[in-house]
Amino acid sequence: MKVFTKLLFIALSAILMFGCASKTPKGGAKVDDLNANNGVTTDGTQQGGVGGDPYSDPSSALYNQKRVVYFDLDSTEVTQSDRPTISAHAKYLAGNSGQTVSLEGHADERGSREYNLALGERRSNAVRQLLLAEGVAANQIQTISYGEEKPAETGHDEDAWQYNRRVEFVYGAR
């Protein structure tokens, strides 16, 4: 009985994963996989909101746009190479005043969990400031930090950590 329920659970988890992954377009890049992270929820609080997912809408300015920016160790500064990504999102949001974005800040696993929550918040605030500076209205942006709780990569070395120090742009999450 126990083995059976475990197998059933594993099978259901697989179905759930597959079901959610299929909602996100395959762009081939690592960054596209990341967003599947945000789709997997059974608590029902994250349904597609106003405007849906602009990444999968070919008519959207964000179609195939990067949805994640990465940070150096213990840094909260957006790198120069990520500035065009920020500008593309700012342009999209400024032109779609009904659209909202959630900036999800993350940290790598090193050090304490609560400090990493604070670091993730600082990173999402850094992106928020840049969006505001490019004309996005404050009420279009919300921020949340998950700290080290939702790594994009699960390894325990810099190969994984560099993908975990990040801010993700999540649309329609409200």
Partner: protein
């Protein structure tokens, strides 16, 4: 039927199965050399008894690393009371101490448990107690007996009759189930406090061991709850924009220190749980988080990066200026006071290794106690003897414990899934001791 509903059904099927055995398996990985030999004879019983008290006591004492209980097959005799003990037998075996006892049914589901501890070489009783207990409390009685034996022989209070609160994560990476659990300090009797599809963090015990404060993302934002462990009733105590985290009960249990970023960036606040009055204690553009109370309630130590990298600072629990107190290592965070207040445990980062260190408050001397590279979340046993912490190098997050002198090490492994952040409860509830009794 939705997948969500289906999953809940499956999970509810799985949970009771998990609690039938120990949820956490605790293994000694390093013990004290020359652990004290002790013979613990299976307790006498006339009728079937649901728990093997002697086995629980032997396992507790072995786990402490300070005792080496004799294997049951090596026991020469099975005495259950002083009159049946031939000390010469036990001297020949080289055991210093002997525990015997008896369990008697005194009513439906009611038992009287009696035990005696002897010094084999002097041929004298060291202590003896009698308890009455329901069937559900027999394990608690056994842990209390372990506490008495430990204290009698080492001079320090035992911490066996205590609990551990811990967070688990299981399931596929993109669809994890998080759970806050409470188990006895030997890993048995696990109880689910909260299950969520979103992260749960930072569990903290109330000083009386009846409530847990924690941070939950269940509503897709950070919120702090305080939950009564036995009834499950809970109160939402903080749900401000931004960070709501790092809850820490004051030693009197009336206030909760926490981190909020509602006023722009992470600051330390203290919430009066009765009046709901919220007092802001720090004003700094840096990250201020992870407050921990000194045992006398007069001071708070917290993590701040106001000097660049994260370090620990100390201030009055009513606020005011803060003094930096850590100077070794380029990263110090998550400070926690030892129960008697003379030490502070923390995560110390040096390069890319993060280990648990203890700092003597008086002398400032720092000792690194752990040896891996991603150790975090230190928590003291209520008798100050061990530090429980999380370590995360392999495929699975594990818990480990190390004695303050670094000589005893344990690993605590969950049957399946990840176990992370664990907090050791304060001393447990004591069952009434009916009487002590001495050899005539």
């Amino acid at each position: 039927m939705s997948i969500r509903f289906f999953l809940i059904c499956i999970l509810s099927l799985l949970l009771p199965l998990g609690s039938a055995t120990a949820a956490l398996t605790i293994n000694i990985t390093e013990g004290v050399e020359g652990a004290l030999p002790i013979a613990i004879v299976p307790f006498g019983q006339e009728t079937a008894v649901p728990e093997d008290i002697a086995a629980i006591v032997a396992s507790d004492l072995r786990r402490s690393g300070r005792f080496a209980p004799l294997p049951e097959r090596d026991l020469l005799a099975r005495p259950h009371a002083a009159a049946e003990v031939n000390f010469g037998d036990w001297r020949a075996l080289g055991t210093d101490n002997l525990v015997v006892g008896n369990i008697r049914a005194i009513g439906p589901g009611q038992y009287e448990v009696r035990f005696e501890l002897f010094d084999v070489f002097r041929g004298a009783q060291l202590t003896g107690y009698r308890f009455t207990s329901g069937a559900q409390e027999l394990r608690t009685v056994a842990h209390q007996i372990s506490d008495i034996i430990y204290e009698t022989l080492t001079g320090q209070p035992g911490a066996f009759n205590t609990r551990i609160g811990y967070v688990t994560a299981s399931g596929a990476k993109r669809g994890q189930t998080y759970s806050l659990q409470v188990a006895d300090s030997d890993g048995y009797n696990s109880q689910t406090i909260l299950t969520s599809k979103q992260p749960i963090l930072s569990p903290a015990w109330s000083p009386d061991g009846t409530r847990l404060a924690y941070l939950s993302f269940e509503n897709r934002r950070q919120q702090i709850y305080v939950q009564d462990v036995s009834s499950g009733r809970r109160d939402l105590v903080a749900s401000y924009p931004g960070l709501n985290g790092a809850p820490a009960f004051s030693p009197d249990g009336r206030r909760l220190a926490m981190t909020l970023s509602k006023d722009g960036n992470p600051e330390i606040y203290v919430l009066n749980l009765a009046s709901k009055a919220l007092t802001r204690l720090t004003t700094n553009a840096a990250i201020d988080t992870e407050p921990t109370w000194s045992p006398d309630g007069n001071a708070l130590v917290f993590t701040s990066d106001r000097g660049g990298r994260p370090q620990l600072y100390r201030m009055s629990s009513s606020g005011g200026t803060a003094q930096r107190i850590t100077f070794e290592g380029d990263y110090n965070a998550k400070g926690v006071f030892s129960p008697n207040g003379d030490m502070l445990a923390m995560i110390q980062g040096q390069g890319s290794t993060y280990r648990i260190a203890v700092q003597n408050i008086q002398s400032g001397e720092v000792r690194v106690l752990t040896d891996r590279s991603l150790d975090e979340s230190p928590s003291f046993a209520p008798n100050g003897s061990m530090i429980l912490y999380a370590t995360n190098e392999g495929a699975q997050g594990e818990l480990a414990a190390v004695s303050i002198d670094g000589r005893v090490r344990q690993s605590l492994v969950l049957q399946e899934g990840d176990v992370r952040e664990a907090v050791w409860s304060p001393f447990g509830r004591k069952l009434t001791v009916n009487s002590t009794f001495n050899q005539p």
